[in-house]
């Protein structure tokens, strides 16, 4: 089925009640040209689930060049464990060179992480998604209630779609909590990044990630030096009455 035939809003309302495995099964039944985004952290549960449905599922990973060595080792471990190819994506060298030449290696501590993330993650992600009809992420609502509280399990991804075409994005773990993810990892003996055993709840680039303490939200382990900023681009849909 082609993506334009999918009414993602209606399907989302049905899939919201389904477990991640069923959402993945639906996604893989609808799309051949679909890939799973793997960060080298606890989203490994998606790899575990997806390879049981489609053993040769396409997987890609964003290597920002700043990951922990433990994460690189874990990506390789996952590749071997699931016997899959992982397409490791890299940022454009000239863009990184320009950033570092102008602002140094740790500019994000002075002017926030967005510029660095845009070069090291968003640009290569954007290029990769131009190849696909659909993609799967490990995004969960509980990762950051401020920015992810309303993510659907399926959505029409207008941000990264090819011009005049559609791209469908699946978030099978949207409604799972961190606890559910870890229950799955332990119940099924899923391999995981060793940094988790050292207090890292959320794992990203090495300079921007730190362990968290008891009762700290995982978000506090990422970009902790930045103040929460007021996001004003969202439209408050609750204000919109039905016509």
């Amino acid at each position: 089925m082609s993506a334009e035939l999918l009414n993602t809003v209606d399907i989302d309302s049905k899939l919201q009640k389904e477990p991640p495995q069923e959402i993945l099964r639906y996604a893989l039944s609808q799309f051949d040209n679909i890939a799973l985004s793997f960060s080298g952290a606890e989203d490994v549960v998606l790899l575990d689930m997806a390879t049981q449905i489609r053993p040769n599922i396409e997987v890609f990973c964003l290597d920002t060049g700043r990951l922990h060595s433990e994460t690189y080792r874990f990506i390789e471990k996952a590749r071997e464990h699931y016997n899959i190819n992982i397409d490791v994506l890299y940022p454009d060298g000239s863009a990184v060179r320009k950033l570092v030449k102008e602002k140094g290696l740790y500019s994000f501590y002075q002017d926030n992480h967005q510029e660095c993330c845009s070069i090291r993650k968003i640009a290569p992600l954007k290029n990769k998604l131009l190849e696909l009809d659909a993609w799967v992420t490990g995004q969960r609502k509980d990762q950051s209630p401020g920015t992810r509280g309303t993510i659907p399990v399926i959505q029409n991804d207008r941000l990264f779609a090819r011009p005049n075409e559609t791209l469908t994005k699946f978030n099978p773990l949207a409604n799972w909590t961190s606890r559910q993810v870890w229950d799955y990892i332990r119940a099924y003996n899923v391999p995981y990044n060793e940094l988790h055993d050292r207090g890292y709840q959320s794992i990203g680039c090495e300079p921007c990630t730190r362990p968290t303490g008891p009762n700290q939200h995982e978000r506090e382990g990422r970009w902790w030096w930045e103040e929460a900023t007021q996001k004003e681009c969202g439209l408050h849909a609750s204000n919109v009455k039905k016509a």
Partner: protein
Amino acid sequence: MKITLVKKILADGSPCKKCGDVLQKLEESGHMSRIDEVLVADEREPNSAGLQLAKDLNVHRAPFFVVEKEGQDPEVHTVYLKFVKDVLEQSTSASDEALEIMNDNPDLDFI
């Protein structure tokens, strides 16, 4: 082809900063003449034309552009620089476009 720009007024009556930035860029580049209609999504007015259009098209952020071509479904663009490149056919910097996406979509930083 008809191009509609939807800009936002916040609940406190102030204009959305990004909308202002986009309007300024459109004016400075001379592209404002390509915009056929500007609608306001006023958070104080649930029935404002911009909010209704956003609801109809399932758009959750502003500013955004709607491109209508005869016989085709409307295209929605929420990334200004992508709109400039794809619709107005002006070259843009890949880095600038990626930064706009990152700045406007904080949920992506966990990817």
